[in-house]
């Protein structure tokens, strides 16, 4: 069960002293730009695997514009945004907006593989890191949300552990423990998958040799 956020976070923008109902369109736009990346991370942590992140983020943006005037204090903006993001992600689970995300990612990987011959050493290194990162992200989707969310939020540029703890309304030590365990689980899962793949490739190689 997801808890409703209640503890206000410290002011984090110049408009935070103003009542949300008085925000201009430009100020709402600026607030959205400031927060949309980590909101996307929250959606990513809670959405069904076959949902489309961009679609859901657009839904959240629309809800924010429609109802930010109902927020009484901008200092509670982060918990409020997080609640909207989680609820939107869960409703996507009910709507089951099916997109071929996995296929698209597979195509991207093929494109990287296909273009590998023309890449420099550092580009190949980056591509390999990205591929490894994608595998880790896939593995992260199998973690319980209580581990997945802090893991993804901590990977958002510019977010400190303290800020993540405030967003999740958890003690910093709990966030740290969950990060440590989540990373260990990811590592073990990816290592297991790689070992299985090597075993399958080894078995396939043996079969080819026998056939020859």
């Amino acid at each position: 069960m997801e808890r409703m956020e209640s503890s206000p976070t410290p002011p984090d923008d110049s408009a935070s002293e103003r009542p949300p109902a008085s925000l201009t369109a430009g100020e709402i736009d600026a607030l959205w730009r400031e927060h949309r990346r980590w909101v996307a991370a929250v959606i990513l942590a809670h959405m069904p695997r076959d949902a489309d992140l961009e679609d859901l983020l657009q839904d959240v943006a629309l809800l924010v514009v429609r109802s930010i005037h109902t927020l009484t204090d901008l200092r509670a903006l982060r918990p409020w945004l997080r609640t909207i993001a989680i609820n939107t992600s869960r409703s996507a689970g009910r709507k089951r907006k099916v997109r071929m995300r996995l296929f698209r990612e597979a195509e991207d990987l093929d494109a990287i593989d296909g273009a590998g011959a023309g890449l420099s050493a550092s580009q190949r290194e980056n591509a390999a890191a990205l591929e490894r990162g994608r595998r880790l992200m896939e593995a992260a989707q199998t973690l319980p949300p209580a581990y997945r969310e802090p893991l993804l939020l901590r990977a958002v540029r510019g977010l400190s552990q303290k800020q993540v703890a405030e967003m999740l309304d958890l003690p910093e030590t709990t966030v740290e423990t969950r990060l440590v365990r989540a990373r260990r689980m990811l590592r073990e899962q990816v290592e297991n998958e790689e070992a299985q793949r090597e075993r399958r490739q080894g078995a396939a190689g043996s079969a080819v040799r026998i056939a020859q």
Partner: protein
């Protein structure tokens, strides 16, 4: 789920990689590495994974940069507009009610037909009368597909209670056409449509 006690090594590596470590953590890590030099391999692997994960997350979240807040979109302020136009909606509903019960003439509807007492009609019969009458007046076009809002079991468990929306497409000739719009502060207002070709309502 209960939190197990994580290994001191994992905690130290996480703190150092995340920039959350203190001097004691560094000293402790070096002490552990002095006893087991393979710790540095694990440290290096953890750093690679952390960087790779951050790279992939960054890539996945890059879609966020394309999603703008729809501060000028009509859809974003639809509820506000609706609230501002509830008077018109009430008036429209009243006209619809008149036509249903056949008690008052619709615009350009000619003489009033034989009065029908509402009490003598069931809801379905009243609706059928409305459709028949408005079709004759070239006002009713068709009913749109019904939209299911909610379905839930009845309290006695004997059936399913459904809430659904029925929508009717009508035509009318008007002297002026107004479009709902918002000013720069997002306040709703009406603007006369000068060129009504393919103009559509934003109430949907």
């Amino acid at each position: 789920m209960t939190d197990e006690i994580e290994s001191r090594e994992d905690i130290l590596i996480t703190r150092i990689l995340d920039g959350e470590s203190c001097q004691d953590d560094l000293r402790d890590l070096f002490a552990l590495a002095a006893a087991d030099a393979s710790l540095w391999d694990r440290f290096e692997a953890a750093k690679r994974d952390r960087d790779a994960f951050a790279l992939a997350v960054d890539e996945a979240l890059s879609v966020a940069d394309r999603v703008a807040a729809p501060v000028h979109s009509p859809a974003a302020s639809a509820p506000l507009r609706f609230a501002g136009w509830t008077g018109w909606a009430a008036a429209a509903a009243l006209v619809l009610a008149w036509s249903w019960f056949g008690r008052l003439p619709l615009p350009n509807s000619g003489p009033i037909g034989p009065a029908v007492q509402p009490a003598s009609l069931s809801a379905d019969a009243a609706l059928a009368a409305y459709i028949e009458r408005s079709t004759a007046e070239n006002r009713f076009i068709r009913e749109l597909p019904q939209l299911l809002i909610e379905a839930r079991p009845t309290a006695d468990g004997q059936g399913t209670e459904v809430t659904y929306m029925r929508q009717f497409l009508e035509r009318a000739v008007v002297n002026d056409l107004f479009e709902l719009s918002t000013d720069e502060s997002g306040r709703p207002g009406a603007v006369r449509v000068s060129n009504p070709v393919n103009t559509r309502s934003v109430l949907y």
